[in-house]
Protein backbone atom coordinates (compact mmCIF):
# COMPACT_ATOMS: atom_id res chain seq x y z
CA UNK A 1 0.00 0.00 0.00
CA UNK A 2 1.32 3.41 -0.97
CA UNK A 3 1.80 5.94 1.82
CA UNK A 4 0.85 9.60 1.62
CA UNK A 5 2.14 12.15 4.13
CA UNK A 6 -0.33 15.03 4.49
CA UNK A 7 1.18 18.16 6.02
CA UNK A 8 -1.38 20.90 6.68
CA UNK A 9 -2.00 23.21 9.62
CA UNK A 10 -5.69 23.75 9.01
CA UNK A 11 -8.14 21.83 11.09
CA UNK A 12 -10.54 20.05 8.81
CA UNK A 13 -8.38 20.09 5.69
CA UNK A 14 -5.95 17.42 6.88
CA UNK A 15 -8.80 15.32 8.26
CA UNK A 16 -10.73 15.46 5.00
CA UNK A 17 -7.64 14.67 2.94
CA UNK A 18 -6.95 11.70 5.18
CA UNK A 19 -10.46 10.37 4.63
CA UNK A 20 -10.37 10.87 0.86
CA UNK A 21 -7.03 9.18 0.44
CA UNK A 22 -7.77 6.36 2.87
CA UNK A 23 -10.93 5.61 0.92
CA UNK A 24 -8.82 5.63 -2.26
CA UNK A 25 -6.65 2.88 -0.81
CA UNK A 26 -3.66 4.78 0.51
CA UNK A 27 -2.01 4.64 3.87
CA UNK A 28 -2.13 8.19 5.23
CA UNK A 29 0.07 9.85 7.82
CA UNK A 30 -0.54 13.47 8.79
CA UNK A 31 1.36 16.32 10.35
CA UNK A 32 0.22 19.79 11.46
CA UNK A 33 3.22 21.76 10.24
CA UNK A 34 6.50 21.38 8.41
CA UNK A 35 8.46 20.69 11.54
CA UNK A 36 6.22 17.76 12.44
CA UNK A 37 6.19 16.72 8.78
CA UNK A 38 9.99 16.47 8.64
CA UNK A 39 9.97 14.51 11.86
CA UNK A 40 7.53 11.99 10.38
CA UNK A 41 9.41 11.42 7.14
CA UNK A 42 11.84 8.86 8.44
CA UNK A 43 9.24 6.65 10.08
CA UNK A 44 6.48 7.02 7.51
CA UNK A 45 8.74 6.70 4.42
CA UNK A 46 5.96 8.24 2.26
CA UNK A 47 5.67 7.69 -1.46
CA UNK A 48 4.27 11.18 -1.90
CA UNK A 49 3.87 14.26 0.27
CA UNK A 50 0.84 16.58 0.15
CA UNK A 51 2.31 19.79 1.49
CA UNK A 52 0.57 23.01 2.45
CA UNK A 53 2.34 26.22 1.44
CA UNK A 54 1.54 28.53 4.37
CA UNK A 55 2.03 26.97 7.79
CA UNK A 56 3.40 28.00 11.16
CA UNK A 57 6.88 27.14 12.50
CA UNK A 58 8.19 25.40 9.34
CA UNK A 59 6.21 26.27 6.23
CA UNK A 60 5.87 24.41 2.94
CA UNK A 61 8.87 25.93 1.12
CA UNK A 62 11.09 25.40 4.17
CA UNK A 63 10.12 21.74 4.42
CA UNK A 64 10.64 21.31 0.70
CA UNK A 65 14.13 22.78 0.95
CA UNK A 66 14.92 20.54 3.90
CA UNK A 67 13.79 17.48 1.92
CA UNK A 68 15.81 18.54 -1.12
CA UNK A 69 18.91 18.87 1.04
CA UNK A 70 18.58 15.33 2.35
CA UNK A 71 19.48 12.53 -0.11
CA UNK A 72 17.09 10.22 1.71
CA UNK A 73 14.07 12.39 0.91
CA UNK A 74 14.87 14.43 -2.16
CA UNK A 75 13.30 11.88 -4.51
CA UNK A 76 9.95 11.84 -2.71
CA UNK A 77 7.51 13.72 -4.92
CA UNK A 78 5.70 16.64 -3.34
CA UNK A 79 2.29 18.03 -4.25
CA UNK A 80 2.11 21.61 -3.07
CA UNK A 81 -1.26 22.95 -1.89
CA UNK A 82 -2.23 26.57 -1.45
CA UNK A 83 -5.07 29.03 -1.64
CA UNK A 84 -2.62 31.32 -3.46
CA UNK A 85 -2.05 30.90 -7.17
CA UNK A 86 0.68 28.63 -8.50
CA UNK A 87 2.73 31.51 -9.89
CA UNK A 88 2.96 33.12 -6.46
CA UNK A 89 3.92 29.83 -4.89
CA UNK A 90 6.59 29.10 -7.52
CA UNK A 91 8.24 32.41 -6.71
CA UNK A 92 9.01 30.92 -3.29
CA UNK A 93 9.86 27.37 -4.36
CA UNK A 94 9.51 25.29 -7.51
CA UNK A 95 10.77 21.82 -6.74
CA UNK A 96 7.36 20.26 -6.43
CA UNK A 97 5.78 17.70 -8.70
CA UNK A 98 2.24 19.08 -8.82
CA UNK A 99 0.16 21.92 -7.53
CA UNK A 100 -3.34 21.93 -6.04
CA UNK A 101 -5.13 25.24 -5.65
CA UNK A 102 -7.35 25.37 -2.60
CA UNK A 103 -10.21 24.89 -2.25
CA UNK A 104 -10.15 21.74 -4.35
CA UNK A 105 -12.44 18.85 -5.20
CA UNK A 106 -11.81 15.35 -3.86
CA UNK A 107 -11.36 14.05 -7.41
CA UNK A 108 -8.58 16.59 -8.02
CA UNK A 109 -6.68 15.27 -5.01
CA UNK A 110 -7.11 11.63 -6.00
CA UNK A 111 -6.06 12.40 -9.59
CA UNK A 112 -3.02 14.42 -8.56
CA UNK A 113 -1.75 11.76 -6.16
CA UNK A 114 -2.29 8.96 -8.69
CA UNK A 115 -0.65 10.94 -11.49
CA UNK A 116 2.38 11.93 -9.45
CA UNK A 117 2.91 8.40 -8.20
CA UNK A 118 2.55 7.07 -11.73
CA UNK A 119 5.01 9.59 -13.15
CA UNK A 120 7.47 9.00 -10.38
CA UNK A 121 7.92 5.30 -11.11
CA UNK A 122 11.61 4.80 -11.84
CA UNK A 123 12.39 8.51 -11.86
CA UNK A 124 14.69 10.40 -9.56
CA UNK A 125 13.75 13.80 -10.83
CA UNK A 126 10.43 14.79 -9.34
CA UNK A 127 10.35 18.46 -10.14
CA UNK A 128 7.93 20.16 -12.48
CA UNK A 129 5.67 17.28 -13.31
CA UNK A 130 2.53 19.35 -12.96
Amino acid sequence: MRTVLVVDDEFGVAEVLESILTDAGYNVVSAINGRQGLARLSKARPDVVLLDFMMPLVNGPAMLRAMAADPAYRTIPVIMMSSLDEETVRRECDRFAAFLRKPFRASAVRDAVARVLDNNRGSDDVSDLS
Binding site: D9, E10, F11, F53, M54, P56, L84, D85, E92, K102
Partner: protein, 504 residues
Protein backbone atom coordinates in the same frame (compact mmCIF):
# COMPACT_ATOMS: atom_id res chain seq x y z
CA UNK B 1 7.96 64.79 31.63
CA UNK B 2 7.12 62.03 34.07
CA UNK B 3 8.08 58.53 32.99
CA UNK B 4 4.73 57.34 34.24
CA UNK B 5 2.82 59.60 31.96
CA UNK B 6 1.24 58.03 28.90
CA UNK B 7 -0.27 60.24 26.27
CA UNK B 8 -0.56 60.41 22.51
CA UNK B 9 2.97 61.75 22.19
CA UNK B 10 4.31 58.47 23.56
CA UNK B 11 1.88 56.00 22.04
CA UNK B 12 2.30 55.35 18.35
CA UNK B 13 -0.95 55.22 16.42
CA UNK B 14 -1.53 52.47 13.90
CA UNK B 15 -4.27 53.56 11.48
CA UNK B 16 -6.74 50.89 10.47
CA UNK B 17 -7.30 52.49 7.07
CA UNK B 18 -10.96 51.46 7.31
CA UNK B 19 -13.10 54.44 6.23
CA UNK B 20 -14.62 56.03 9.29
CA UNK B 21 -12.90 53.75 11.81
CA UNK B 22 -9.86 55.96 12.41
CA UNK B 23 -12.16 58.97 12.82
CA UNK B 24 -14.04 57.09 15.52
CA UNK B 25 -10.74 56.06 17.16
CA UNK B 26 -9.37 59.59 16.76
CA UNK B 27 -6.40 58.38 14.77
CA UNK B 28 -6.23 54.60 14.90
CA UNK B 29 -5.24 51.78 17.22
CA UNK B 30 -2.11 51.92 19.36
CA UNK B 31 1.06 49.97 18.56
CA UNK B 32 1.43 47.20 21.12
CA UNK B 33 -2.27 47.29 22.02
CA UNK B 34 -4.53 44.25 22.21
CA UNK B 35 -8.13 44.69 21.09
CA UNK B 36 -11.10 42.34 21.14
CA UNK B 37 -13.46 42.49 18.17
CA UNK B 38 -16.68 40.80 19.22
CA UNK B 39 -19.74 40.04 17.15
CA UNK B 40 -22.07 37.25 16.23
CA UNK B 41 -21.36 35.30 13.02
CA UNK B 42 -21.95 37.33 9.89
CA UNK B 43 -21.42 40.73 11.45
CA UNK B 44 -18.22 41.39 9.48
CA UNK B 45 -15.38 40.61 11.90
CA UNK B 46 -13.32 38.64 9.39
CA UNK B 47 -13.73 41.26 6.66
CA UNK B 48 -12.84 44.05 9.09
CA UNK B 49 -9.72 42.23 10.28
CA UNK B 50 -8.60 41.33 6.76
CA UNK B 51 -9.20 44.88 5.58
CA UNK B 52 -7.06 46.22 8.42
CA UNK B 53 -4.36 43.65 7.52
CA UNK B 54 -4.24 44.67 3.84
CA UNK B 55 -4.29 48.37 4.72
CA UNK B 56 -1.54 47.78 7.25
CA UNK B 57 0.78 46.03 4.79
CA UNK B 58 0.08 48.67 2.14
CA UNK B 59 1.26 51.24 4.66
CA UNK B 60 4.51 49.32 5.05
CA UNK B 61 3.64 47.05 7.97
CA UNK B 62 3.63 43.26 8.17
CA UNK B 63 0.66 41.22 9.27
CA UNK B 64 0.01 37.71 10.48
CA UNK B 65 -3.49 36.24 10.38
CA UNK B 66 -3.90 33.21 12.64
CA UNK B 67 -7.12 31.25 12.59
CA UNK B 68 -8.35 28.82 15.17
CA UNK B 69 -11.68 27.11 14.73
CA UNK B 70 -12.73 29.53 11.99
CA UNK B 71 -13.40 29.68 8.29
CA UNK B 72 -10.88 27.74 6.17
CA UNK B 73 -8.24 30.01 4.68
CA UNK B 74 -9.04 29.00 1.14
CA UNK B 75 -12.72 29.85 1.55
CA UNK B 76 -11.94 33.03 3.41
CA UNK B 77 -9.56 34.22 0.71
CA UNK B 78 -12.10 33.30 -1.94
CA UNK B 79 -14.64 35.51 -0.18
CA UNK B 80 -12.41 38.51 0.37
CA UNK B 81 -10.79 38.26 -3.07
CA UNK B 82 -13.81 40.07 -4.56
CA UNK B 83 -13.26 43.07 -2.27
CA UNK B 84 -11.14 45.88 -3.66
CA UNK B 85 -8.72 46.05 -0.75
CA UNK B 86 -7.57 42.50 -1.52
CA UNK B 87 -4.11 42.45 -3.04
CA UNK B 88 -2.72 39.01 -3.92
CA UNK B 89 0.78 40.46 -4.12
CA UNK B 90 0.73 41.08 -0.37
CA UNK B 91 0.54 37.32 0.36
CA UNK B 92 2.72 35.62 1.54
CA UNK B 93 5.47 38.25 1.69
CA UNK B 94 3.85 40.88 3.90
CA UNK B 95 0.67 39.14 4.99
CA UNK B 96 0.76 35.54 6.11
CA UNK B 97 -2.07 33.18 7.02
CA UNK B 98 -1.66 30.22 9.33
CA UNK B 99 -4.00 27.99 11.24
CA UNK B 100 -3.21 27.16 14.85
CA UNK B 101 -6.20 25.15 15.99
CA UNK B 102 -4.45 21.82 15.68
CA UNK B 103 -1.53 23.18 17.66
CA UNK B 104 -4.01 24.35 20.30
CA UNK B 105 -5.58 20.90 20.30
CA UNK B 106 -2.30 19.02 20.52
CA UNK B 107 -0.20 21.36 22.67
CA UNK B 108 -2.79 23.44 24.51
CA UNK B 109 -2.68 27.20 25.19
CA UNK B 110 1.01 27.00 26.07
CA UNK B 111 1.83 25.49 22.68
CA UNK B 112 -0.33 28.09 20.97
CA UNK B 113 1.44 30.92 22.78
CA UNK B 114 4.81 29.53 21.70
CA UNK B 115 3.59 29.32 18.12
CA UNK B 116 2.30 32.89 18.16
CA UNK B 117 5.57 34.22 19.55
CA UNK B 118 7.64 32.36 16.98
CA UNK B 119 5.42 33.37 14.09
CA UNK B 120 5.26 37.04 15.09
CA UNK B 121 9.04 37.08 15.34
CA UNK B 122 9.58 34.96 12.23
CA UNK B 123 7.38 37.16 10.07
CA UNK B 124 8.36 40.38 11.89
CA UNK B 125 4.65 41.03 12.21
CA UNK B 126 3.49 44.43 13.40
CA UNK B 127 -0.14 43.33 13.31
CA UNK B 128 -1.45 40.00 14.56
CA UNK B 129 -5.01 38.80 14.07
CA UNK B 130 -6.15 35.85 16.14
CA UNK B 131 -9.45 34.72 14.68
CA UNK B 132 -11.39 32.48 17.08
CA UNK B 133 -10.70 33.57 20.65
CA UNK B 134 -13.60 31.44 21.80
CA UNK B 135 -11.64 28.31 20.88
CA UNK B 136 -8.93 29.32 23.36
CA UNK B 137 -11.50 30.02 26.03
CA UNK B 138 -12.90 26.55 25.50
CA UNK B 139 -9.45 24.97 25.47
CA UNK B 140 -8.41 26.45 28.79
CA UNK B 141 -9.17 24.58 31.98
CA UNK B 142 -10.33 27.60 33.95
CA UNK B 143 -11.16 31.30 33.69
CA UNK B 144 -7.86 32.01 35.34
CA UNK B 145 -5.91 30.09 32.70
CA UNK B 146 -7.78 31.93 29.95
CA UNK B 147 -7.08 35.30 31.56
CA UNK B 148 -3.42 34.37 31.92
CA UNK B 149 -3.25 33.52 28.23
CA UNK B 150 -4.80 36.86 27.23
CA UNK B 151 -2.56 38.71 29.66
CA UNK B 152 0.58 37.01 28.38
CA UNK B 153 -0.36 37.69 24.77
CA UNK B 154 -1.06 41.33 25.60
CA UNK B 155 2.24 41.69 27.42
CA UNK B 156 4.08 40.12 24.51
CA UNK B 157 2.32 42.38 22.00
CA UNK B 158 3.26 45.45 24.03
CA UNK B 159 6.87 44.28 24.13
CA UNK B 160 7.00 43.74 20.38
CA UNK B 161 4.97 46.86 19.55
CA UNK B 162 2.61 44.58 17.65
CA UNK B 163 -1.11 45.36 17.43
CA UNK B 164 -3.23 42.33 18.30
CA UNK B 165 -6.82 41.87 17.17
CA UNK B 166 -8.68 39.08 18.92
CA UNK B 167 -11.81 38.09 17.03
CA UNK B 168 -14.58 36.29 18.82
CA UNK B 169 -18.19 35.34 18.23
CA UNK B 170 -19.10 35.66 21.85
CA UNK B 171 -19.06 33.42 24.81
CA UNK B 172 -21.24 31.00 26.64
CA UNK B 173 -20.88 33.22 29.68
CA UNK B 174 -22.36 36.57 30.57
CA UNK B 175 -19.18 37.76 32.24
CA UNK B 176 -16.12 38.36 30.10
CA UNK B 177 -13.03 38.81 32.27
CA UNK B 178 -10.87 39.25 29.18
CA UNK B 179 -12.67 42.52 28.45
CA UNK B 180 -11.14 44.08 31.54
CA UNK B 181 -7.65 43.09 30.44
CA UNK B 182 -7.40 44.18 26.82
CA UNK B 183 -6.80 47.73 25.63
CA UNK B 184 -9.98 47.99 23.66
CA UNK B 185 -13.27 46.35 22.88
CA UNK B 186 -15.03 46.72 19.54
CA UNK B 187 -18.54 45.35 19.20
CA UNK B 188 -20.09 44.55 15.82
CA UNK B 189 -23.78 43.87 15.46
CA UNK B 190 -26.38 43.33 12.80
CA UNK B 191 -29.75 44.51 14.11
CA UNK B 192 -33.11 43.98 12.43
CA UNK B 193 -35.01 47.26 12.10
CA UNK B 194 -38.44 46.55 10.70
CA UNK B 195 -37.96 44.72 7.44
CA UNK B 196 -34.37 45.84 7.07
CA UNK B 197 -31.14 45.10 8.85
CA UNK B 198 -28.56 47.61 10.05
CA UNK B 199 -24.93 46.82 10.86
CA UNK B 200 -23.41 48.81 13.70
CA UNK B 201 -20.00 49.18 15.31
CA UNK B 202 -19.52 50.37 18.85
CA UNK B 203 -16.35 51.01 20.81
CA UNK B 204 -16.99 49.94 24.37
CA UNK B 205 -13.49 50.58 25.62
CA UNK B 206 -10.37 52.21 24.23
CA UNK B 207 -7.42 52.83 26.50
CA UNK B 208 -5.16 55.77 25.89
CA UNK B 209 -7.50 58.03 23.97
CA UNK B 210 -10.94 59.44 23.63
CA UNK B 211 -13.16 58.06 20.90
CA UNK B 212 -16.55 58.71 19.36
CA UNK B 213 -19.02 56.97 21.60
CA UNK B 214 -22.21 55.25 20.64
CA UNK B 215 -23.23 53.04 17.75
CA UNK B 216 -21.93 53.82 14.30
CA UNK B 217 -23.64 52.31 11.27
CA UNK B 218 -21.55 50.56 8.67
CA UNK B 219 -21.91 48.80 5.36
CA UNK B 220 -19.99 45.98 3.74
CA UNK B 221 -19.39 47.29 0.24
CA UNK B 222 -17.21 46.20 -2.68
CA UNK B 223 -14.53 48.38 -1.07
CA UNK B 224 -14.87 46.46 2.17
CA UNK B 225 -16.28 47.92 5.36
CA UNK B 226 -17.24 51.58 5.36
CA UNK B 227 -18.20 53.02 8.74
CA UNK B 228 -20.28 56.15 9.10
CA UNK B 229 -19.42 57.91 12.35
CA UNK B 230 -22.53 59.00 14.22
CA UNK B 231 -22.92 62.57 13.12
CA UNK B 232 -23.93 64.06 16.46
CA UNK B 233 -20.77 62.59 17.98
CA UNK B 234 -18.58 63.57 15.05
CA UNK B 235 -19.86 67.15 14.96
CA UNK B 236 -20.47 67.53 18.68
CA UNK B 237 -18.64 70.81 18.36
CA UNK B 238 -18.49 72.76 15.09
CA UNK B 239 -15.16 72.58 13.30
CA UNK B 240 -14.82 76.37 13.14
CA UNK B 241 -16.08 79.63 14.57
CA UNK B 242 -19.26 81.13 13.13
CA UNK B 243 -18.10 82.43 9.76
CA UNK B 244 -20.85 84.94 8.97
CA UNK B 245 -21.60 88.47 10.02
CA UNK B 246 -24.63 90.59 9.21
CA UNK B 247 -24.50 90.00 5.44
CA UNK B 248 -27.58 89.00 3.49
CA UNK B 249 -27.70 86.56 0.60
CA UNK B 250 -30.23 86.42 -2.17
CA UNK B 251 -32.84 83.70 -2.45
CA UNK B 252 -32.83 84.18 -6.20
CA UNK B 253 -36.38 85.61 -5.99
CA UNK B 254 -36.09 89.42 -5.82
CA UNK B 255 -39.40 90.20 -4.14
CA UNK B 256 -38.82 87.48 -1.62
CA UNK B 257 -35.50 89.10 -0.77
CA UNK B 258 -37.42 92.33 -0.19
CA UNK B 259 -39.84 90.57 2.14
CA UNK B 260 -36.90 89.08 4.03
CA UNK B 261 -35.39 92.50 4.52
CA UNK B 262 -32.66 92.15 1.94
CA UNK B 263 -32.28 88.41 1.60
CA UNK B 264 -31.55 85.52 3.92
CA UNK B 265 -29.14 86.16 6.77
CA UNK B 266 -25.73 84.76 5.86
CA UNK B 267 -24.93 81.25 7.10
CA UNK B 268 -28.42 80.44 8.34
CA UNK B 269 -30.74 77.50 7.94
CA UNK B 270 -33.98 78.09 6.08
CA UNK B 271 -36.90 75.71 6.02
CA UNK B 272 -39.33 75.94 3.11
CA UNK B 273 -42.52 74.09 3.98
CA UNK B 274 -45.41 73.36 1.74
CA UNK B 275 -47.59 70.73 0.12
CA UNK B 276 -46.57 68.53 -2.75
CA UNK B 277 -46.50 70.64 -5.92
CA UNK B 278 -46.49 73.82 -3.89
CA UNK B 279 -43.29 75.21 -5.40
CA UNK B 280 -40.73 74.24 -2.75
CA UNK B 281 -38.27 72.66 -5.18
CA UNK B 282 -38.67 75.53 -7.62
CA UNK B 283 -37.83 78.01 -4.89
CA UNK B 284 -34.77 75.90 -4.06
CA UNK B 285 -33.74 75.90 -7.72
CA UNK B 286 -33.81 79.70 -7.66
CA UNK B 287 -31.59 79.52 -4.61
CA UNK B 288 -28.94 77.30 -6.25
CA UNK B 289 -29.18 79.13 -9.58
CA UNK B 290 -27.38 81.95 -7.74
CA UNK B 291 -24.30 79.70 -7.55
CA UNK B 292 -21.06 81.36 -8.55
CA UNK B 293 -17.33 80.88 -8.17
CA UNK B 294 -17.57 82.76 -4.90
CA UNK B 295 -20.62 80.79 -3.77
CA UNK B 296 -20.53 77.21 -5.08
CA UNK B 297 -23.80 75.36 -4.60
CA UNK B 298 -24.83 71.81 -3.88
CA UNK B 299 -28.31 70.43 -4.50
CA UNK B 300 -28.72 67.34 -2.31
CA UNK B 301 -31.95 65.73 -3.42
CA UNK B 302 -33.97 62.68 -2.47
CA UNK B 303 -36.93 62.54 -4.79
CA UNK B 304 -35.91 64.10 -8.09
CA UNK B 305 -33.05 62.78 -10.18
CA UNK B 306 -30.52 65.29 -11.53
CA UNK B 307 -32.06 65.06 -15.01
CA UNK B 308 -35.57 65.79 -13.74
CA UNK B 309 -34.26 68.65 -11.66
CA UNK B 310 -32.51 70.15 -14.68
CA UNK B 311 -35.69 69.77 -16.76
CA UNK B 312 -37.72 71.46 -14.05
CA UNK B 313 -35.21 74.32 -13.89
CA UNK B 314 -35.26 74.69 -17.66
CA UNK B 315 -39.07 74.98 -17.64
CA UNK B 316 -38.90 77.95 -15.27
CA UNK B 317 -36.10 79.68 -17.15
CA UNK B 318 -33.24 78.74 -14.84
CA UNK B 319 -30.04 77.70 -16.59
CA UNK B 320 -28.54 75.21 -14.17
CA UNK B 321 -26.63 73.41 -16.94
CA UNK B 322 -24.32 76.39 -17.23
CA UNK B 323 -23.68 76.35 -13.47
CA UNK B 324 -22.90 72.66 -13.73
CA UNK B 325 -20.54 73.22 -16.67
CA UNK B 326 -18.82 76.03 -14.79
CA UNK B 327 -18.52 73.68 -11.79
CA UNK B 328 -20.35 76.19 -9.65
CA UNK B 329 -23.09 73.68 -8.96
CA UNK B 330 -23.16 70.01 -8.02
CA UNK B 331 -26.28 67.87 -7.89
CA UNK B 332 -26.35 64.75 -5.76
CA UNK B 333 -29.32 62.46 -5.79
CA UNK B 334 -29.94 60.05 -2.92
CA UNK B 335 -32.64 57.51 -3.80
CA UNK B 336 -34.82 57.38 -0.69
CA UNK B 337 -34.60 53.63 -0.39
CA UNK B 338 -32.44 51.86 2.20
CA UNK B 339 -30.22 54.73 3.21
CA UNK B 340 -28.45 55.07 6.52
CA UNK B 341 -28.86 58.35 8.35
CA UNK B 342 -25.17 58.76 9.07
CA UNK B 343 -24.18 57.62 5.59
CA UNK B 344 -26.26 60.50 4.25
CA UNK B 345 -24.97 62.92 6.85
CA UNK B 346 -21.32 62.03 6.35
CA UNK B 347 -21.69 62.12 2.56
CA UNK B 348 -23.31 65.53 2.78
CA UNK B 349 -20.67 66.98 5.10
CA UNK B 350 -17.87 65.50 3.01
CA UNK B 351 -19.36 66.92 -0.21
CA UNK B 352 -19.81 70.33 1.35
CA UNK B 353 -16.25 70.44 2.61
CA UNK B 354 -14.75 69.04 -0.59
CA UNK B 355 -16.65 71.48 -2.82
CA UNK B 356 -16.24 74.51 -0.48
CA UNK B 357 -20.00 74.84 -0.80
CA UNK B 358 -21.65 78.07 0.30
CA UNK B 359 -25.19 77.46 -0.98
CA UNK B 360 -26.73 74.20 0.08
CA UNK B 361 -30.18 73.10 -1.04
CA UNK B 362 -31.54 69.93 0.54
CA UNK B 363 -34.71 68.93 -1.27
CA UNK B 364 -36.84 66.57 0.78
CA UNK B 365 -35.76 66.62 4.39
CA UNK B 366 -38.04 63.65 4.95
CA UNK B 367 -35.36 61.57 3.24
CA UNK B 368 -33.28 61.91 6.40
CA UNK B 369 -36.17 60.97 8.63
CA UNK B 370 -36.89 57.88 6.58
CA UNK B 371 -33.25 56.82 6.85
CA UNK B 372 -33.24 57.16 10.64
CA UNK B 373 -33.80 53.91 12.50
CA UNK B 374 -34.10 55.86 15.74
CA UNK B 375 -36.33 58.91 15.32
CA UNK B 376 -35.16 60.30 18.67
CA UNK B 377 -31.89 61.18 17.00
CA UNK B 378 -33.37 63.53 14.41
CA UNK B 379 -33.32 66.74 16.45
CA UNK B 380 -29.70 66.25 17.54
CA UNK B 381 -28.72 65.17 14.04
CA UNK B 382 -30.03 68.34 12.43
CA UNK B 383 -28.65 70.49 15.22
CA UNK B 384 -25.19 69.06 14.58
CA UNK B 385 -25.52 69.56 10.83
CA UNK B 386 -26.81 73.09 11.16
CA UNK B 387 -24.13 74.11 13.65
CA UNK B 388 -21.42 72.81 11.33
CA UNK B 389 -22.86 74.46 8.24
CA UNK B 390 -23.27 77.72 10.10
CA UNK B 391 -19.65 77.51 11.20
CA UNK B 392 -18.62 76.94 7.60
CA UNK B 393 -20.61 79.97 6.49
CA UNK B 394 -23.02 77.90 4.43
CA UNK B 395 -26.49 79.16 3.59
CA UNK B 396 -28.72 76.11 3.85
CA UNK B 397 -32.19 75.72 2.44
CA UNK B 398 -34.26 72.64 3.28
CA UNK B 399 -37.63 71.74 1.87
CA UNK B 400 -40.21 69.86 3.89
CA UNK B 401 -43.52 68.56 2.71
CA UNK B 402 -46.61 69.63 4.61
CA UNK B 403 -49.10 66.83 5.05
CA UNK B 404 -52.26 68.64 4.08
CA UNK B 405 -52.67 70.17 0.65
CA UNK B 406 -55.29 72.69 1.67
CA UNK B 407 -56.53 73.47 5.13
CA UNK B 408 -56.39 75.67 8.19
CA UNK B 409 -53.69 73.81 10.12
CA UNK B 410 -49.96 74.42 9.72
CA UNK B 411 -47.92 71.51 10.93
CA UNK B 412 -44.14 71.49 11.08
CA UNK B 413 -43.39 68.25 9.28
CA UNK B 414 -40.12 67.34 10.96
CA UNK B 415 -39.64 68.27 14.57
CA UNK B 416 -35.86 68.18 14.34
CA UNK B 417 -35.38 70.75 11.63
CA UNK B 418 -38.13 73.03 12.89
CA UNK B 419 -36.11 73.45 16.05
CA UNK B 420 -32.92 74.48 14.25
CA UNK B 421 -34.46 76.36 11.30
CA UNK B 422 -33.65 80.04 11.71
CA UNK B 423 -35.80 81.16 8.83
CA UNK B 424 -39.10 79.59 7.82
CA UNK B 425 -41.06 80.13 4.64
CA UNK B 426 -44.49 78.62 4.16
CA UNK B 427 -45.98 77.84 0.76
CA UNK B 428 -49.65 76.99 0.55
CA UNK B 429 -52.48 76.41 -1.87
CA UNK B 430 -55.57 78.53 -1.55
CA UNK B 431 -58.90 77.80 -3.19
CA UNK B 432 -60.62 80.83 -4.64
CA UNK B 433 -63.50 80.85 -7.07
CA UNK B 434 -62.84 77.22 -7.99
CA UNK B 435 -59.18 77.92 -8.68
CA UNK B 436 -56.12 76.99 -6.70
CA UNK B 437 -53.69 79.78 -5.98
CA UNK B 438 -50.28 79.62 -4.40
CA UNK B 439 -49.46 81.65 -1.33
CA UNK B 440 -46.12 82.41 0.26
CA UNK B 441 -45.57 83.72 3.74
CA UNK B 442 -42.58 84.16 5.98
CA UNK B 443 -42.93 82.67 9.43
CA UNK B 444 -39.63 83.79 10.88
CA UNK B 445 -36.23 85.24 10.03
CA UNK B 446 -33.29 85.07 12.40
CA UNK B 447 -32.80 88.23 14.46
CA UNK B 448 -34.51 90.33 11.88
CA UNK B 449 -37.71 91.99 10.87
CA UNK B 450 -39.56 90.77 7.81
CA UNK B 451 -42.69 91.36 5.80
CA UNK B 452 -45.31 89.17 7.39
CA UNK B 453 -47.94 89.58 4.70
CA UNK B 454 -49.23 86.77 2.57
CA UNK B 455 -48.27 86.87 -1.07
CA UNK B 456 -49.62 85.08 -4.02
CA UNK B 457 -46.97 83.68 -6.30
CA UNK B 458 -47.03 82.02 -9.66
CA UNK B 459 -44.60 79.64 -11.28
CA UNK B 460 -44.07 80.79 -14.84
CA UNK B 461 -41.51 80.32 -17.59
CA UNK B 462 -39.60 83.09 -15.84
CA UNK B 463 -39.63 81.27 -12.54
CA UNK B 464 -41.35 82.29 -9.32
CA UNK B 465 -43.17 85.58 -9.61
CA UNK B 466 -44.65 87.13 -6.50
CA UNK B 467 -47.97 88.87 -6.92
CA UNK B 468 -49.99 91.36 -4.88
CA UNK B 469 -50.78 90.67 -1.29
CA UNK B 470 -53.77 88.60 -0.39
CA UNK B 471 -54.29 90.72 2.69
CA UNK B 472 -57.78 91.57 1.57
CA UNK B 473 -58.92 88.00 1.43
CA UNK B 474 -60.78 86.62 4.40
CA UNK B 475 -59.58 83.58 6.27
CA UNK B 476 -56.80 83.10 3.86
CA UNK B 477 -55.00 80.53 5.97
CA UNK B 478 -58.11 78.39 6.09
CA UNK B 479 -57.47 77.49 2.48
CA UNK B 480 -61.05 78.39 1.65
CA UNK B 481 -60.71 82.11 0.98
CA UNK B 482 -63.49 84.24 -0.43
CA UNK B 483 -62.98 87.67 -1.95
CA UNK B 484 -64.66 90.51 -0.09
CA UNK B 485 -67.16 92.39 -2.19
CA UNK B 486 -65.45 95.09 -4.20
CA UNK B 487 -61.96 93.43 -4.27
CA UNK B 488 -60.40 92.29 -7.52
CA UNK B 489 -58.63 89.02 -8.05
CA UNK B 490 -54.92 89.15 -7.37
CA UNK B 491 -52.52 89.43 -10.24
CA UNK B 492 -48.81 88.96 -10.68
CA UNK B 493 -47.29 92.37 -10.15
CA UNK B 494 -44.59 93.97 -8.07
CA UNK B 495 -45.83 93.98 -4.49
CA UNK B 496 -46.33 97.10 -2.47
CA UNK B 497 -44.06 97.69 0.52
CA UNK B 498 -45.52 95.95 3.52
CA UNK B 499 -45.46 96.69 7.18
CA UNK B 500 -42.40 95.06 8.75
CA UNK B 501 -42.85 92.79 11.69
CA UNK B 502 -40.13 92.63 14.29
CA UNK B 503 -39.05 89.22 15.52
CA UNK B 504 -41.01 88.11 18.52
Amino acid sequence: MSEQRHDDSELERVPTGVPGFDVILRGGLFAGGAYIVRGTPGTGKTILANQICFNHVHAGGRALYVTLLAEAHARMLQHIRRLRFFDPAAIPGSLYYVSAFRTLEEDGPRGLMDLLRREVQGHRATLLVLDGLLAIEEATASDQEFRKFVHELQAYAALEGCVVLLLTNGSRKEYHPEHTMVDGLVMLSDQPVGARSVRELEIRKFRGSGFLQGKHAFRITDDGIVIYPRLEALLARPSAEDACGEDRVTTGVPYLDDMLGGGLPCGTTTLVMGPSGGGKTTLGLHFVAEASAAEPALAFTFYETPNRLLMKARRVGLDLERRLRDRHLEIQWQPPTEQLLDELGNRLVESVRRGHIRRLFIDGIDGFRQAATDQRRITHFFAALSNEFRALGIHTCYTAEARSLIGPEIEAPTTGISVVAENMILLRFVELHSHLYRLLSIIKVRDSGFDSSLREFRITQRGIELANSFESAEAILSGFARLRPGHKQASAAPPPKRNRRRPG
